[in-house]
Amino acid sequence: MQARRVVLGLVALLTVALLAACSGAPVESGSDAAAGSDAASGDAASGAVELQLMGWASSEAENDRLQSVVDNINEAQDGFTLTMNLVPDYDTKLQTSMAGGAPPDVFYIDSFKFPDLVASGSVIPVQNIENPDDFYPNLREAFSSDGEFYCPPKDFSTLGLIYNTDMFDAAGLEYPTTDWTWDDLHAAAEALTDAENGVVGLALSPDMARWLAFLYQAGGSVVNDDFTAMTINSPEAQEALAFYVGLVQDGFAAQPADLSAGWNGEAFGQGAAAMTIEGNWIMPFMTDQFPDINFAVAELPAGPAGKATLSFTVCYDIPANGKNSEAASQAVNLLTNETGMAAWTDLGLAMPTRASLRDGWLEQYPDQEAFLNGAEYAYPWQFRPGFSDVLDTFNSGLQEAMAGTKSVDAVLSDTETVGTEVLNR
């Protein structure tokens, strides 16, 4: 009986301890928050504000470079200390931290997600952006809402035509020039295809983020300028999609999966395709994984309506209701002013978004001129909130069209239907 009492007593004690631990948590975090706001209000007196920068993890070289840029910034001023937090599965982490009311002080926003985040009211414009007119206008526009420039782009990439110079030499073909048209691309893809050895002229992914360049080259568009009506079911779009899908059905191009590769760059590196369409990110990938492949970059060929490409860009923004908006804005400016950006883009992984840095960067990376020239005629990879459904529908249709189980017309009309639904939501 005595032992029984002891056991009961122990269980009761444990239960109480557990309850206490549970109820204790909020009190503790409450005092944390209080300490945080003390630090924010009296940062001059009590030292530097702690700021957290959240982004997605990339290659080691990239992460190290960003760390050194951040270190320089921390040394250069006493107002704040910036800590980097590079995470996998970034979008989910950012979203949950915002919903939980504790977002990081500075974070990346991809241009495609920007409209959704602005619509949700969870981000605000960075204060006093330094020399805003220096950013390329189309990139500035990508991060503007209702005419207000929200966040300075940290870098950008455009799509270019990547080609294997050895394969061109072997086939006796001239290298792509800036005057290339769709016909030249088609002819080269045909000449470079070597079915016996499993080599196709062009690796093409079933992805709107590649095909869209062709749509713009054909003079088409996805949606009208004020986002009230879908314009994707047009003769221009039919022409662009028929050309894209036709290359695959003629056997001159193939999607990466059919070349036993995870993405275009891998297919190109493995020598299964003589050309592909990708952005600047393919450069470090090729150097790391396929250093023996000789290749070069050209501008995308012009379509019936002229030149066009897509730009992919990411900015640094700050959260709404943030405790340290002022210090965070200062940090963003130090990251994206001429000095900060040059220190970052000098690594050559992505291009500076400031026009004033163009020439200096080009001197260092002359082989990437084609990408940089694309900035002149690039369209941002961006639509409006809720467009993920449209993207999914189109990509799903494009996969079927490439496999030959769906017609080009059906892909476009399905996309138009879903797009109209999204616009009317």
Partner: protein, 343 residues
């Protein structure tokens, strides 16, 4: 005397509850309350980013959109339900039968290296499903090991397929062999049922989904085998001896004695299988993200996609609640069927 027993009972009850309290608290905080929250937010238009308090109450609108809305949300939901159902119909019977077979094999008294086989079959079950999925991505490549092996076994007659990029439904492929397709029989494509055409409904799992089904079967068999094995080792030996005395052969013993005695275990294994397959997520997340052409979009992946890609957490939670209801109903039906057989 009587009161003494009552007192004892009451003390036992108090002790029981006390012992249960830590679990109940943890269960309440991490399971029960979140479920209530999910139920509530499925009735709001919460986008999953803004503070949850700001979400507007919209009643049953999310459910209405998903079940009868007529738009892309309805289409995606039934597409996901179709894929998941094909997944369950393919995986559950096969994994149950194979697990039972393996359990019977490794339960043989005279089998040598018994523990080696038991370990080997159980091994995939204790490996992280993400790691397995990543490895299988390589195996399923067009020039990957699986195509090579199939080609070797069939003396080169097998044409390599890019498993994870192939959206063709296997019933569609078979129907095509029989000369039936949506062009020859237009009503199949023109008759629409719940947002999908009849032709879409009868697609069968796509090659990509089939690839995930095969992998999933392989990883789950081990666990189910162990459950069957435990049940087999609990079988009363007298019954078997009696059957042998009556002159029953091996097959008769298996069919007339082992299977009926295993019925509760089979119910358990099939229930686990149904719940597991209807919730399949991680393999899809790692291997295909719902593609190609949405043929590996499962209900659980749709929940994630709505909440985190499309910023429609309320919608995603509505799908999650519907998934719960579907699994609940299926388990009830299955229970009825199992009990009906007994009577």
């Amino acid at each position: 005397m009587a009161t003494g027993i009552k007192q004892q009972d009451r003390q036992d009850a108090i002790a029981g509850w006390l012992f249960m309290t830590p679990t109940l608290i943890i269960f309440g905080i991490f399971v029960f309350i979140p479920i209530l929250f999910a139920l509530y937010f499925s009735l709001t238009d919460w986008n999953g980013i803004s503070p949850p308090g700001e979400a507007a109450f919209v009643g049953l609108r999310n459910y209405q959109d998903v079940l009868f809305g007529g738009g892309i949300r309805q289409q995606d939901f039934y597409k996901a339900l179709k894929n998941t159902t094909y997944f369950a119909l393919g995986v559950v019977p096969v994994q149950t039968a194979l697990a039972l077979f393996l359990a019977v094999v490794v339960n043989q008294r005279f089998l040598r290296f018994k523990s080696f086989f038991r370990t080997a079959y159980y091994f995939p079950a204790i490996t992280s499903s993400v790691a397995i999925s990543l490895i299988f991505l390589f195996l399923y490549q067009k020039d990957g090991l699986i195509n090579e092996a199939l080609s070797f076994v069939t003396f080169g007659a097998w044409k390599p397929v890019a498993w994870m990029a192939d959206a063709r439904g296997i019933f569609h492929i078979w129907l095509n062999w029989l000369g039936v397709n949506s062009e020859r029989v237009p009503w199949l494509a023109n008759t629409s049922l719940l947002g999908l055409s009849v032709w879409d409904w009868i697609s069968g799992p796509s090659i990509a989904l089939l690839a995930i089904m095969l992998m999933n079967t392989w990883t789950t068999i081990g666990t189910l085998m162990v459950i069957f094995l435990a049940a087999l080792q609990d079988m009363p030996p007298q019954v078997y001896e009696a059957a042998q005395m009556d002159g029953a052969g091996t097959w008769t013993i298996f069919r007339r004695i082992t299977l009926p005695l295993l019925r509760p275990t089979t119910f358990f294994v099939v229930t686990l299988g149904l719940m597991g397959t209807y919730q399949v997520f991680d393999q899809v997340y790692v291997m295909s993200s719902g593609g190609p052409a949405k043929t590996t979009l499962t209900v659980a992946y749709l929940v994630y996609r709505s909440g985190f890609n499309n910023f429609e957490m309320g919608m995603g939670l509505a799908v999650a609640i519907l998934l719960f209801i579907i699994i609940f109903i299926l388990t009830m039906i299955q229970r009825r069927v199992t009990e009906g057989e007994k009577a």
